[in-house]
Symmetry: C2
Subunit: 174 residues, 2 copies
């Protein structure tokens, strides 16, 4: 698919409500369940999205579009949520995520992003030069893969209870 800013912002716009509904009225037993070992629970994932909203996606957009000489991104901490979410309920995190996302979309829309700006670059700590188009695409894809992850974590809690049907659910076996 060719990149389209409107669709991409629409995906970003949909995510908080999707996750809120996916976890709506589910018990702590499910919200804090994971896929074993140090894999993430739905609660951990929402905390990760909150942190990304604060420190990753939009701040990197600003760096790319800035006049700064040094457009190097600050490395992203994929484990920050384990500290930052402490003492917060899922509801707290969902509210925080929604509010930050609304604010970021609002600022994004005010940046008059056109083809020229989409081609501007920043410097990723691992990949080197990346364009704004690639960053915004990754932001949307990142949302979607975490929605898939939350759904899979919840589904996996049923892997014993579905009995012989496990045969049809390859993704739940691991």
């Amino acid at each position: 698919m060719k990149f389209n800013l409107t669709y991409t912002i629409q995906i970003l716009n949909n995510t908080p409500q999707v996750i809120r509904n996916l976890l709506s009225d589910l018990p702590d037993e499910l919200v804090h369940s994971n896929e074993g070992g140090d894999s993430w629970s739905p609660y951990d994932i929402v905390g990760h999205l909150v942190h990304g909203e604060r420190t990753d996606w939009f701040p990197r957009t600003e760096i790319i579009l800035s006049n700064k000489e040094n457009k190097k991104f600050i490395p992203y901490d994929r484990f920050a949520q384990f500290e930052e979410s402490k003492g917060k309920s899922l509801e707290d995190l969902l509210n925080e995520f929604s509010e930050l996302r609304i604010e970021n979309i609002h600022k994004l829309k005010n940046m008059d992003i056109d083809e020229e700006k989409l081609n501007m670059e920043g410097i990723h700590p691992e990949f080197g030069n990346v364009t704004l188009r690639e960053l915004l695409s990754t932001w949307a894809a990142h949302d979607l893969t975490h929605i898939a992850q939350i759904s899979r974590v919840l589904a996996k809690q049923y892997k014993e209870e579905i009995g012989p049907w496990i045969k049809y659910f390859d993704k739940l076996k691991a």
Copy 2:
């Protein structure tokens, strides 16, 4: 996780709204995109959920709890949606799915399902004897895996546009 009817019904209850939000205001280009070959698009998946709602999950629940001598399930047609969805918009299918799901949950709640009923059995065309507990668990897990699938199909449309970030997205490579 030990099976819990209330949580399971809550998952079934959440699904229509999750999918509606996930596809909210997305263009046909995304709604009809797939993972290549004869894989399913989000539109196909919603059609499949509508068909399941009509002919699979609840009808099988009724067979298990009935007094019929023959509790054999009717084999499920995994491809029925390609005929049945013809001429329908995504909005039509989402509305149909929501309405059928509300109705099925309502009927389910009126069946006074207890431990004894959860242990009752029907005959699956491939697996033979299966319990109501297994059927209801599979119904919820099936919802969740299709939500994950829709999210993955959408994310995959970005696999070129994310550039070097593909390295972090194993699930989008295939």
